[in-house]
Amino acid sequence: MKIETIKSPGGIDAWLVEEHAVPMLALRFAFDGGSMQDPVGKEGTANFLAQMLLEGAGELTATAFQDRVKDLALRIGFRSGRDALFGNIEVLTESRAEAASLLRLALMEPRFDADAVARTRQRLKVGIARAAREPDKVAAAEWDAVAFAGHPYARPIVGTLASVDAVMADDMEFYRRRAFCKRTLKVTAVGDVTAEELGQLLDEVFGDLPDDTQLPVPGAVGVLPAGRRSIIEMDVPQSVAVFGMTALARKDPDYMASVVLNFIGGGGSFSSRLMEEVRVKRGLTYGVSTSIVPMRCASILKGSVATRNHLIGTSLEVIGAEFAKMAAGDIGEDEVAKAKSAIIGSYPLAFDASAKIANQLLGLRLDGFGPEYVANRNAMVAAVTLADVKRVAAELLRPENLIVTVVGKPSLGAEHVAPQASASAA
């Protein structure tokens, strides 16, 4: 696989992997911003905007726009993350030129017609109301609220019922003008397109964006309020717990060691310690897993587990004990070797479809890496030693670092029990 870094005639750069085997193009891009830049009281603005980019633009009403998407057989979508607003499009080669015009229109001239805004608002609120009654979603939101208290990360990306009601068309247009600019734009493309063709497409789609909108740079999260456990009661047979702690930044020299550590602990699916201890040996859950989530203002190691109410306490004890063992240095040379082998050997699996490749590359661009990362990455994993992993485990996995939220009717000691009403209002 060859990654080209190209620059369009208009000066927009992109990473390109030419692959002419399937007559399609997968394009991924992102602008800095994300839900972190939502105004206070108008949480969910970026997410709302992402939806509205498919609800009519230029001369095309929402209905006409969506008919056009269908006519061109496009796969197109926008979504807001915490730190960036993402766009993705898959298009057959035969429709590429028309798709570019439509994408330009969506980004540059969204209409925000009143009926489309109202319709989208309703849909978003239905989703929010539903998520407020799902134990896994409530647990995840509560974890963010506790861990990131005082920082914009504490707020839900989708907003609340009240905040979504407060977001108006002007707010979304203001956000669009503030966040969509060439300086923070990052594009990756994979598929049946040459560098020259892609250059033309980039100029057509993004050429009219302002150079730089001076979006403010967000502040770091700071120290997480470690050692917190919160419980939200919900009348469900199975409790869901989200647990996590601070982790290493993406560019920390020990980051790869933390990836290996996470794989051993809870990231490695059926080969992880948590899966072995909680599921395979004890039958306490269908799934338990952890992952490292490096974000711009914080990095966390986070996991979840679901167990019937009367046994969730046991699951959490087993998880805590396993973290404590690892923090104390109980990690084997063999475990590290196997984890590294798995992480190295599975890297090509992330590159076996155009859309997957484009996603991988966009992630690297957002993290500030160059295209050489792909070739160098496995050597970085290979260089991780047992001592590195133990050092990182001792730093991260201390039991007192854990922040745990549980939703359900768990049988465990309750330091803080909130009624269900406060969960749905959160």
Binding site: M1, R123, R279, R282, G283, L284, T285
Partner: protein, 445 residues
Amino acid sequence: MLAPTPQGVTPERRAVQFKLANGMDAVVIPDHRAPVVTHMVWYRVGAADGPSHRSGLAHFLEHLMFKSTEKIADGAFPKIVMELGGQLNAFTSQDVTVYHERIAKEHLGQMMAMEADRMVNLRLTEEEVATERNVIIEERASRYDNSPNARLSEQMNAALYLAHPYRLPVIGWAHDIAQLSREDALSFYKRYYAPNNAILVVAGDVTPDEVRDLAVASYGKIPANPAVASRDRAKEPPHEVARRITLQDKRVANATFQRSYLTPSYATAESGAALALSLLMVIVGDGATGRLFRRLVVEDKVAAGASGGYFGGGFDSGIIQMQAVALPNRDLGDVEAAVDAVLDEVRENGVTELELNRAKRSLRAAYTFESDEQEKLAERYGRALSVGRTISEIEGWPAAISQVTTDDVKAAALTHLDIRRSVTGHLLPEITNARSAQPRQVSAP
């Protein structure tokens, strides 16, 4: 790391099919873009083939297949695959049980050896079985018991079929799961897990000859099991009345409407009816351009979302499903009336050429996008072959879609949107008295 390739893949690719001497079918779909393979074994046995008083048995066995054999210690199977950089999983449906790995191509032989080993050499201890049963009880709680929408779907499914075993949940009823034993699992295993009841599917950076050699050396060594019987399932009697179900649950936020119709599948339909049903349901139910969305969400403003689809992959039948989420101040009766108006309209007047052409483009594009993902590509072949369809049907699908006419679609709507063969489900927030209380409860923060 990734080898660019001159021949590559195209959506018109021809998969290569062959059969081993012991009766095991094999299909190879070359895809040389990356040095990886997707390896799948599809057993022609699923939840609907188990005894009716042991619902969940096929899925139970799927879990237990990750236990030990003579050669592979308990729980080692996934660890070995992952250490080699592979990913793996398994799934059970009503018609099939499937085990699959994605891995660097040099490990394909080992994957085949391991998969062949557990085809016939599984051993189970009482303790392993007891622990895994608890895992499945937790799985059921996660997927169903914690979710009102999933519980409604389960109840509707149980009501849609009058006799056919598709009415039983794949994961099993909770009381059946609690009773599943080591003996149940082993007798099911011995009866159905055999090369002559399995299909090998390999997609990726390999040639058919390479796969054939590896397959002969692994699966080819297992003798056929002549006792494997063809599927013998209860047949549906004529459906004479529509069924209705209401589930109330305090964890429901917005009242939701669902409707299911029992239909033919690609495997059972005559003369292209399944193709017409696929197109019909793109036109009626696919996303923001579907007629349901346009009528219920855009025009009548009774629902926050409305969609539907046709699922034609079943061995014995297919299903049309649709759903709509009521806006907070709207009654489900209004929602249902609007859905029925859309369906009556399409039954009466059919669809337009414009709609049909748009739907055809959409389905053909989906086929191309699917061809870009190796795992989905492999699944496309496995799914179809395991219910008795052929490679030429699979690869001829985009062309066959192009041949469908507006008359075909109208005929399919008239015949198959038959309310007598349907179940209607209402999911409501729990209320103590008057139904007028229900919408307002929803909009409260």
